[in-house]
């Protein structure tokens, strides 16, 4: 249920200008609307893309949050790699099976 809340926040932030407005102006209140663990809430507050990836958020949601935070593509890819180094393998969601990270196939 918790990854559900994390992903729903990302979904609504991505598609709704009003949620983006509240994210800027009233973040704490906004986040109380989603069922989030403390770790998830802190990761969102900090814009910690690497941790959010490890927590299991789908990249189709996460890449737009990274773009919203102003992160260039190469930094976004690097943040996910760093997340795995810091926090270990992806814990939930469709990427739990993802393996090696020694290739830099995108060239970034």
């Amino acid at each position: 249920m918790s990854l559900y809340g994390l992903q729903k926040f990302l979904y609504e932030l991505n598609r709704d200008a009003r949620v983006q407005e509240r994210y800027r102006d009233d973040r704490a209140a906004l986040l109380t609307q989603y069922p989030l663990t403390d770790e998830e809430r802190a990761a969102i507050e900090a814009g910690d893309i690497g941790l959010i990836y490890v927590l299991g958020a789908n990249g189709q949601l996460l890449m737009h949050f990274a773009a919203y935070l102003g992160m260039p593509w190469a930094d976004y890819i690097k943040a996910m790699r760093d997340g795995i180094v810091t926090h270990g393998p992806v814990r939930a969601g469709v990427y739990t099976m993802t393996t090696g990270m020694d290739e830099k196939v995108a060239g970034v």
Binding site: Y11, G59, L62, I77, I84, V94, M101, A106, G107
Partner: protein, 275 residues
Amino acid sequence: MSLVFAGICSHAPGITGRAHMAEPALRDEFYAALRQMSAELHATKPDALIVVAAEHFANFFMNNMPAFALGMSDEYQGPIEDPEWLKIERRKIRGNAALSKRLIVEVMNSVDVAYAEEWKFDHGIMVPLHFLTPAYDIPVIPANINCQGPPLTPLHRAWAFGEALRHAADAVPERIALVGTGGISHWPATPDSGKVNEAWDRELLDRWSRNDRQALLSYTDVATYRDAGQGGFEIRTFISVAAAAGGRGTIHFSKPIPIFAVGCTVATMNIACRT
């Protein structure tokens, strides 16, 4: 009147959004193949273009995740993403609600499609339209298959969806074009972004070109994930087009462009008589 055109192509957001980062010669060869497909599409004088796209959590979420969805509006918008990020300007796109409704009623006889009276196109539809109908001169009917949030739509139901679209297209007086869009093997928006399994892609496209139903439906999600990444789940859109067209396919372009995060593909299929 009937299905008049069937094709498939890639839709990765990097194709437009990171165009400047790609090797120019390779990129331009790919773009040329897309423009050639656009010319073939227009030559069939379609009244509407159905785009079968893959779920990316732009319009639908796990609070109501449809296995299949079809748009039913006179007007859509896109891209839902930051236009700067995708490098495609935000605009309105003409639909045809009445035609959508007639198609949906037909499809519903065999496939339980969700209908949507609004739809914000993401890169999965905007990138193909940017190349295939750059003047936005053909009304679009968006379709969606859940390739993203498990439980995913089973492959044999994606085939059934293609058959249902074909029946529906043949049941209405309009000329219908159909484009399926998706990556083949790819690991989009992951640390493995840019990785492509060329051998797997060749095999998939071979099965698709031969319209080998049994071979296309023999993939399991576990094996697809292992060999082709979570992006490989999008083969569902290609499978639907094969089922709808029923003919043989021709691959016009198929090469990895790593910065686009996908093996870029352009292919068409001839329309076989229904048996």
